[in-house]
């Protein structure tokens, strides 16, 4: 199954988004949080993100969701270093993208489908 990693500046935000996404993934989707810096403060740790990707990856690939700023840059850098095509970053809002990705992943869909589901979350408007 395609894994999902939630990268946030905040440990608690990453864990909270992962909690919501797992629920929407009906307990099947694998959603790993990577929040905060290496000491649990606000920030981003590429080491924590690498650990989360390893934990989420069972061979079918991993979709990354990131909040902003250094989370996004760290995700892109990790993908560049991986030099493969089995870890991808979704250009999507964090919560909506994570929920969409987890919902799709739980169906057993492939990496491209889960990535597309996450990015489709951009179009889910709230007032129109």
């Amino acid at each position: 199954m395609v894994g999902i990693v939630i990268i946030s500046h905040s440990r608690t935000l990453a864990e909270g988004v992962a909690e919501v996404a797992r629920a929407m993934g009906v307990g099947k989707a694998v959603v790993e949080p990577a929040g905060g810096d290496s000491e649990g403060r606000l920030g981003t740790s590429i080491d924590l993100v690498e650990q989360a990707v390893a934990a989420a990856d069972d061979g079918d690939g991993v979709v990354l969701l990131a909040d902003l700023g250094s989370s996004v840059l760290t995700a892109k850098m990790l993908i560049e270093d991986a030099e493969g095509d089995d870890v991808v970053l979704a250009d999507a809002p964090l919560v909506e993208g994570a929920v969409a990705a987890a919902s799709m992943a739980a169906t057993g869909a492939d990496l491209a489908a889960v990535h597309a589901a996450a990015e489709s979350a951009r179009d889910h408007r709230k007032t129109s």
Binding site: G43, S45, L73, K76
Partner: protein, 217 residues
Amino acid sequence: MSAGSTDTGSMDAGDFAAWIRSTAGRVSADAERLTRLDAAIGDGDHGLNLDRGFRAAVEALPEDAPPGKVLIVAGRAIVSKTGGASGPLYGTVLRRAGKSFGDAAGVDAAALGAALRAALEGVQDLGKAAEGDKTMVDALAPAVAAYEAALADGSDLAGCARAAAEAASKGADGTVPMRARKGRASYLGERSEGHMDPGASSTALVLEALADTAGEG
């Protein structure tokens, strides 16, 4: 510069390690100023973060490694320890530059120019910033252009590096009136105007350290 320099100058692994140490010293000395700049329009941690990152880079400097490896190892330490967007960005600067050197033991003026160009392209690939967005690109891009212009005019490595440093400093000053289009400052709209971009300012420090290192010996 090292013994055995050619007419146009060259830098060896020791020179690149000296550059990283010199940058770390400048960042440390200016950490409070950089953080103050960042507090005006960013999240107020640039000096502190970069100080932590370059200290880690100095500690990680390898012995008996070629220039490319020196920069790649330093870049990796910066990515791991800096925190904030400057970690991936400065890590990319050093790693892209280091990769462009391959296993060469000596780096001449042309090779250093190519490395700076690769570093700029890496930063733009990662952060998607263009000139005028009020970011480190506003210091780095004119620095690379000035280096290349000096090289084309026949300057030696030290002269090219000095031209780059002067252009970076001028570029950083030029960010003051700009409206930010990247990062936290971009949320402030016109209120981001009137402040120097901290990333452009720290980029000027990095290039001043390079010029001083290249000009020594």
